[in-house]
Amino acid sequence: MILLWLVLVPFIGGLLCWQADRWGEKAPRWIALITMMLVLIMTLVLWLQGDYQLPAMNAGADSIRWAMEWKVPWIPRFGIDVHLALDGLSLVLIALTGFLGMLAVLCSWKEIDDRIGFFHLNLLFILGGVVGVFLAIDLFLFFFFWEMMLVPMYFLIALWGHSGSEGKTRIRAAIKFFIYTQASGLLMLVAILALVFAHHANTGEYSFSYADLLQTPLSENMAMVLMLGFFIAFAVKLPVVPLHGWLPDAHAQAPTAGSVDLAGILLKTAAYGMLRFALPLFPEASQTFAPIAMTLGLVGVFYGAVLACGQRDIKRLIAYTSISHMGFVLIGIYSGSELALQGVVVLMVAHAFSAAGLFIMSGQLFERLNTRDLQEMGGLWGRMGSLPGFSLCFVAASLGMPGTANFVGEFMVLFGTFPTAPVVVIIGACGMVFAAIYSLILMQRVYFGPSLNDQKFEGLDGREFTMLLGIFALVVLFGLYPQPLLDTTSAVMGEVQGLFQGSLPAGSVPMSSLAGGGQ
């Protein structure tokens, strides 16, 4: 029952904030903050109680044992039921949602001053939708939340964003974001339905539940087509390079809270989707698709890096860095080794924190300089209290400095993928150089170099300082001691790897001599 509350709390909180607008400016903010704190506390309580070591899929048993499950029939005609289930992976990501939700509310404390109630309604609806995505195990319910979380984000960008340069208005960016995700979502809907009808064809009854659909035998190219349907939907959201067009615009025009949510959580729903649905449902197809996916990941890493170096808008630069980081996630997901999959989880959490940190920093820069153009910044080092210090820490995290969680995640992905695809890893490792380039470009252009004038700006107030310190502490904590996080998701990742590996000939691919050019 607590799972239902996890989903409902943000929605109820959102409605409360909308109405609380009448009682004054502070009320909606506090309600939103308390709601997200509630979600975080609930997840932590769940984490302390349940132990996630037990193998989720015991050998041979048909039904997967979830840590917690809640099922109520919804549309019996199609065998659709409101089926929420929680396991290590979704627990970690919901905790992340809770934490980033609090950050989003905190960082828009001063930035949003008109239509506050409605803003927090949208913000909390996004978070509610995301929690729904992470918990939904029924494919229809998953799609339901997947599409539903777009509308509030659309409103967030369209109404509270700030217009970009030369005619790139925020409404165009919002519509572009919506259409990209919705169109790919529809492809996924077709894939889900084809899967359901294939299941209906050989078992005679409709069912949308995850456990049943796992067993549907599919012909070779049918499985590939359906897998592509799922992959494209998640590739748009991840984002994978050819389909990434919406991310920079959406980030550049979104308010800080929107960017924190967008980068922190929405990108993770795609990776979660791949791990939960795309891989286990179509293991063989994913296996044959793996090399292409990895190359797409590589292209993403380099393309994101090169474009990041050329940007003038700071938020666009950070957006392209997220594309580069997500390239590594894609490589890790399709490598099929448990180490890499665990690395993907750590990398997701780490990227959420470092991207959130960078966006909050750019938000605070905007509050002080009210510009996002790198050309107008420079030499800000000593003039903003400890904001430059924190920016240095987050930039270090984004370039994968050891001791931060990004390094742990990235290296686990690369270590895990090396036996199966050495060439990909070697090229990916070169991506680390590009990571250094764009990260340090950000540092040089904003903080170092000659300063236009020596006007001093007020430093970080209590709220901002605790926020940034909190995020950085978490980044370092998971950088030096990620074990609790890894233990929570080890069972799930083992299961995903088992499904994925099951289709591969026994044992990992023999290490052909490197001189022979590897895979």
């Binding site: 549309i75 005609r77 008109d114 339901f144 939340f145 919002a174 169109a183 529809l186 077709v190």
Partner: protein, 481 residues
Amino acid sequence: MLTSAHMMALTPVILVCATAVTVMLGIAWRRQHAATALVSILGLNLALVSLYLVYSAGDVSTPLLVFDRLSMLGMVLVLASTLACLTMSHAYLEGYPGRKEEFYLLMLCAAAGGMVLVASQHLATLFFGLELLSMPLYGMLAYTYRDKRSLESGIKYLVLSAAATAFLLFGMALLYSQSGRLDIAGLLAGLESSGGGAWALAGAGLMLVGLGFKLSIVPFHLWTPDVYQGGPGPAATFLATASKAAVFIVLLRIVMVAPAFHVEWLHTVLGGLALLTMIVGNLLALIQTNLKRLLGYSSIAHFGYLLVALVVADGLAVETAGIYLITYLMTTLGAFGVVTLLSSPYSGEDASALHHYRGLFWRRPYLAAVLTVCLLSLAGIPFTAGFIGKFYIVALGVEAGRWWLVGGIIAGSVIGLYYYLRVMVTLYLVEPGMRGRDAPDNWGMKAGGVVVLGLALLVIAFGVYPTPVIDWMSVLTSPVH
């Protein structure tokens, strides 16, 4: 040989006609706007209740009319949308200087025509119902003839609808000449045996053109935006909901009942038309600045999606058609309701330009919320009924393996997103010195307001928990095929 069972089955139609007559007498006696509205609403509610009794009495079939579950569904839809239009027209006509009562009379006659059309299984009743549905519409559209646009829409609809009826009739005549039978089942059986000659096919084609015009399928859709924009609010709503639904139900009956109609080639033509309608309907609305024209185009597009149900015509088809019709009706009634409420009481031109709606949320939050819900439902976003409708249509397309049509649905709804979102965001934009139009302050309390709010809640409720409607629908459609 009019047995008591026949009479029982006919009661809903009789009741509606009786209401029409009483309204006519009422007008002759003393013109009283509120009373007329009240009588007509009462009459329709009575018809709805009687419908339930007839439904429990089981199917009755006569050569001309058949009262089976599909016609029950059709009658419910027609009556419900007429009720909604009537309640809205009451608020709308408050400020109308001219005579107000005739509007209700026309709408009641149209409703009766719709019910006859839905229950027809004979060419004569089909023609009769269709004309009884269309003739009052000419009057309703041109009701506020002092405003040029209303007159223009009336004239356009008259000329083109008459032409379409001519096509329909000529088609019927050709089919009759080939089969010698006028009742649809017998007609098509006769055609089947005589191996469908050129004349028969031409006849079928011409009938398709006639009905296609009424459903505004693409080559015959050009009239729709102008008529929707010009016509007064309630008239346009009635046209978009009741009349289209009735015609679609009759087309559905022909497709379901008549196996001969399964001529493979006719399906591909219908499929082509459906695809064309989806894409062109959405494309036309891309940068439309007039809300009523935009809703017109979106109704064209939605009937493009609905046609997929006709093209597939087996398995889930009837259930999908039913569900999609219900979602479409609820949403369009809601959307047009808001437009009508904003332009009532009648003061010349309707409030249909987009800049009238700019920043509406900050003046009338609930009204804007209703419009947002309806637009989301038209776009097919979860939490709204439209999503369930789209889910059904895509499921149907996937089950039947019609990949072209499924591709069309996806492309269409993606293009659709663009203009639905554009309209939705204008509701929330805050611009100083807005020239927006406002609904009367106590709009929520009036009957029209209640209907619109009810519709919005229905759309959300159906979107979140569609099971009751789905169960009712599967019961309704199971015995037909």
